[in-house]
Amino acid sequence: MMPVTLNHFLVLSAMLFCIGLYGALAKRNAVAILMGIELMFNAVNVALVAFSRFGPASTVAGQSVLLTGQAFAIFILTVAAAEAALGLAIIFAIYRRRETIDPDRLNLLKW
Amino acid sequence: MTVRLDPADAAALIRARFPEAVEAVDGFAVRLATSALVEVCQYLRDEPSLAFDYLVMETAVDYIEDDYLELVYVVRSLQHNREVVLKVRTDGRDDPVVPSLVDIWQTAEFQEREIYDLFGVRFAGHPDLRRLFLWDEFRGYPLRKDFLPLAQ
């Protein structure tokens, strides 16, 4: 059986990231864009956790840094939650005012 | 005890203000001219010594022999505990029109819709004159005396 290595996780992460990137760039609906961004966050998290588990165990100043990647993943998760909440709040606010959430038509700042 | 305002007295009260309004008086009701209905009712409601603030009931009767519909309004003053019955005759039975009293007594809303539904009296100025009980495609007005259920 072919062993699963760090690279497997990284390729998976890259695929998820690129799909998310496409979604974030190409979609016409703000909610769909948000979904793409969430996908990218997840991809990054997968990579981080994989790094933390496959990397060499080491200690810095007596503390294990084995799980640095996981700690970072938790921070990213926090930020993603904050981003989702704020993003959706903004989408609601815009929808209320403009009755649309198509970013192409939200060009109020352009002239 | 609710005092039934004698129709003759009521007619006198109305005549004092609107000489042309009263068409006839009998033992039960005061019959008003259709054109004067709204302003008489407005007066009855707003004049503090009368204060007929409560429309008890509004309905219609089909007098097919004499070729008219008669609308009956029972009006009451909660403040003075008095009651008077007003009547209005329509002009013929084909597409009769009567002014609506919704603006004076809101309770007329459903009752006028009911009359429209069952008698086919149109109320000018009614905000939402649709059939109340029967479906919109129903043809004919069931409470008219010449309505034949199977012939619709």
Binding site: - | V3, S49, Q79, H80, N81, R82
Partner: protein, 410 residues
């Protein structure tokens, strides 16, 4: 007697019995380790599922009979002895029904809805502690796992609600999202108090550590957890998601037959899961005075969980429903602050050197007493029936006299 004692020890500890069975199986068949592992896993899951299935039957029947009693009537008592076969009859009838998919429904999601409803409620059972060493899965993150998987029920609600192409269902779905997400916060905050005191998220350790049940140590957290889990389990008086007097049946309005049974069973499974979790977190799982020396722990655990469920039935038979905005403000303005108070007090108590548990208990009870006092003093004076009636009558009489005077003048 040795014979009896030998078997009693197996009955006492089902997991050791299961382990012996597996060991015997391996020695007899020589299966590889992973196959035994699979058998072990599926067997455990099957056991939990059986328990849930039997419990559902017992609880649904018990609830119907009990509600009947509460309502001065008999409840189902015709089919079978004392009505015990009523549920089987109902289930057979439901199985025989056609599964109607409404026109315009989002078919795949519509079909998935009831299945998704059942899975998360069922998954939570993995971490329950049926005895000192008996837990289907021992996880370091047991409590977190339970909260995480049960939070997925919101999905079932809005998958069903959205896909049904029915406005009542959509209402139910929206309410479900609002309610479940809001009540997750006080629920988790209340659990954190327990985790702080226990120093672990492992359910087995938490239950084992409760020499004094945490219900006595953490009354505020217990209160918050109870209320929030009623809301999460979607039971009256907080079942606005499927409030039958307003939105017919909420998100599962369009489901009939077997699909409806799935939702129904999921609801009871969910409620049972929260009852059992309350038992684990606050009532010490299988512990019950000296009885745990006599009876097998799993039996006590099950009975205690049923007792918690009985309290849910009792509440159902007592309270009418809240309105959605009142429910929301109860969650955000009452339960979340209470849970935070409990959290702060618990952490403060943990900082006290020596006796942290006693310190926590003292802090919590003092705070609980203060809160109750504050609430009592702020409560509007209850209406007195004589006064209420006299006020209403006097008002009428006064107005009536005034009117007679007026009409006498005119």
């Amino acid at each position: 007697m040795d014979f009896v004692a030998f078997y009693y020890q197996y009955i006492w500890n089902l997991s050791s019995m299961w382990g012996s069975v597996l060991a015997w199986l391996q020695s007899q068949t020589g299966l590889p380790g992973w196959a035994i592992y699979l058998v072990f896993g599926f067997g455990g899951a099957l056991g939990a599922f059986l328990w849930v299935a039997i419990s559902n039957i017992i609880l649904v029947f018990g609830e119907r009979r009990l509600l009947g009693r509460f309502q001065i009537r008999f409840g189902p008592n015709r089919v079978g002895p004392n009505g015990t076969l009523q549920l089987i009859a109902d289930a057979l009838k439901s199985v025989g029904k056609e599964l109607v998919i409404p026109a315009g429904a989002d078919k795949p999601i519509y079909v998935l809805g009831p299945i998704v409803a059942f899975i998360p409620a069922m998954m939570g059972f993995a971490v329950f502690t049926f005895g000192p060493t008996m837990s289907p899965v021992t996880m370091d993150i047991g409590v977190l796992y339970f909260q995480a998987v049960t939070s997925l029920t919101a999905f079932a609600a809005f998958m069903a609600g959205w896909s049904s192409n029915n406005k009542f269902a959509l209402f139910g779905a929206m309410r479900a999202v609002a309610q479940f997400v809001s009540y997750e916060i006080p629920l988790v905050l209340a659990v954190i108090s327990v985790v702080l005191v226990a120093g672990t998220m492992n359910t087995l350790t938490i239950a084992n550590q409760q020499t004094i049940v945490y219900a006595l140590v953490l009354p505020i957290a217990l209160f918050v957890f109870t209320i929030a889990s009623i809301a999460e389990a979607n039971r009256t008086p907080m079942d606005i998601v499927e409030a039958e007097s307003e939105i017919v049946a909420g998100y599962h309005t369009e489901y009939g037959g077997m699909a409806f049974i799935m939702f129904y069973a999921a609801e009871y499974t969910h409620a049972l899961a929260f009852g059992a979790m309350l038992n684990v977190l606050f009532l010490g799982g299988w512990k019950l005075f000296w009885l745990d020396q006599v009876l097998p722990p799993w039996l006590l655990f099950i009975l205690k969980s049923y007792f918690v469920f009985f309290i849910l039935i009792w509440m159902r038979a007592t309270f009418p429903r809240l309105r959605i905005d009142q429910l929301m403000s109860l969650g955000w303005k009452v339960l979340v602050p209470l849970a935070l108070v409990s959290l702060v007090l618990t952490s403060a108590g943990m900082l006290v050197p020596g006796l942290p548990l006693l310190a926590v208990a003292i802090f919590q009870w003092v705070a609980a007493g203060l809160i109750i006092l504050a609430v009592l003093s702020r409560l509007p004076r209850r209406t007195n029936r004589e006064e209420d009636m006299r006020a209403r009558r006097l008002a009428a009489q006064a107005a009536m006299t005034a009117r007679t005077a007026v009409s006498a003048q005119s």
